[in-house]
């Protein structure tokens, strides 16, 4: 079973040279640490940065320079700063090549829920609804099974949804999936040591398994 770093490592293999990438908060942010050598990408932060760099060195942090998670960051050479309307403009206009975000639930038709748990957590959607409504290439990083043992790959989302039919690829602690256009989670790869049976038991929605499913390559 993959830990968070493992999920991030696997997703990082999907990042191609020349991509503009938006990383959500949590596991997606970790992906930046595992971008393969020789691959040059530009990170977009939706509060208005292209070319975001790593955290600053101690003592060099600047209150005027944060990412969308409100963390202090740095800028790389060739970066640019813009306002929030332009930031979501480039997202809506599909200039960003890849969006990686977290989810609480995904349905077999590609609906995603990640912004609200009624009565418990109401923090708001931030930029998530804009991203899922427009991005052409979204990878979801999520835990397939919660602490109570319940699957979060569902026939239908139980939480208020963030977007409809927008998710096409998912990486979890157990496997990699495509969400098929006509519905269903197609298993593409298994996490090291995880059986198809285990995955079947951990998928509440429709699971599609064709032939021998390979173990994923991580390192």
């Amino acid at each position: 079973m993959l830990d968070k770093e493992g999920i991030a490592k696997r997703i990082a293999r999907e990042i191609k040279d020349g991509y503009y990438v938006n990383l959500g908060i949590g596991i997606p942010t970790l992906c930046a640490n595992y971008v393969p050598k020789g691959i040059n990408i530009v990170l977009q932060s939706e509060n208005g940065i292209l070319g975001m760099g790593p955290f600053p060195h101690d003592g060099e942090e600047d209150a005027d320079l944060i990412n969308a998670g409100k963390q202090t960051v740095t800028l790389l050479n060739g970066s640019s700063i813009f306002d929030s309307a332009m930031s979501f403009g480039m997202i809506r206009a599909q200039k960003v090549d890849l969006t990686i975000l977290g989810a609480m639930e995904v349905s077999e038709s590609g609906d995603i829920a990640n912004w609200k748990i009624p009565g418990k957590m109401v923090k708001g959607m931030g930029g998530a609804m804009d991203l899922v409504a427009s991005a052409k290439n979204i990878i979801v990083a999520m835990q397939q099974v919660n602490k109570a043992g319940e699957s979060k790959l569902l026939p239908k989302c139980t939480l208020p949804i963030t977007g409809v039919r927008c998710i096409k690829k998912i990486v979890t602690e157990l496997g990699v999936y495509d969400v098929l256009p006509h519905g269903g989670f197609k298993l593409l790869e298994r996490a090291p040591g995880i059986s198809v049976d285990h995955i079947r038991k951990s998928t509440a929605g429709k699971l599609i398994v064709e032939g021998d499913v390979p173990e994923m390559m991580i390192d």
Binding site: N47, H57, R92, Q94, M129, I161, V164
Partner: protein, 245 residues
Amino acid sequence: MNKTVKNAEEAVKDVKDGMTIALGGFGLCGIPENCINALVKKNVRNLTCISNNAGVDDFGLGLLLQGKQVKKMISSYVGENAEFERQMLSGELEVDLIPQGTLATRLMATGYGMPVIYTPAGVGTEVAEGKEVRRFKFNGVEKDYLMEYAFEPDFAIVKAWKGDTMGNLVFRLTTRNFSPLVAMSGKITIAEVEHLVQPGELDPDHIHVPGIYVHRIFQGENYLKRIEQRTVRKKIVMEVPFIKK
């Protein structure tokens, strides 16, 4: 043309109970600290605030919430504020949560003189409830878009890095965020600046908000610029080889 006012108190002198105010800032980054403090001191009430976030408990818009001066918040993300959550769950505070890009673009539309925008964000979700949906073929794809209205706040308040007495504004780094859009949206727009300069001192090519959108400007003071999440790289400790004497 000189739009300078003395200070924050003078700038917000005619903000009245029940008004709608749009404020710049992302988290605590680039918030108009001086004007928020002046609104707290003035104790205007029943405000509707349009702002991406709601500050933290003891700073930024959190100060207005503490004093129960806010009737309604229009934001995209309000996660870092316990008092906010309490007021919202108890029903004291009305909250309209809207997608971040929608928020930005509804402010922008006002400044561009357009009453509505169409956006795909929120289609099929609870955000779409009661809203007009139209189908457009655009960018090679046919899909549904929500109609969203431009905001029309009574006051818009921003903080800029530099501004001249004619109201031209320049922002620094990610303090820009929503601020130019907020600045364009106000019936009356107030800018507080870290450096107030004379006309001619700012390069016209580098202006982010032309002064035509700004009605009052003043030299701000005592900026705290609090950092919400101070994240740093691990220190690289040089290993000094042990040298035998």
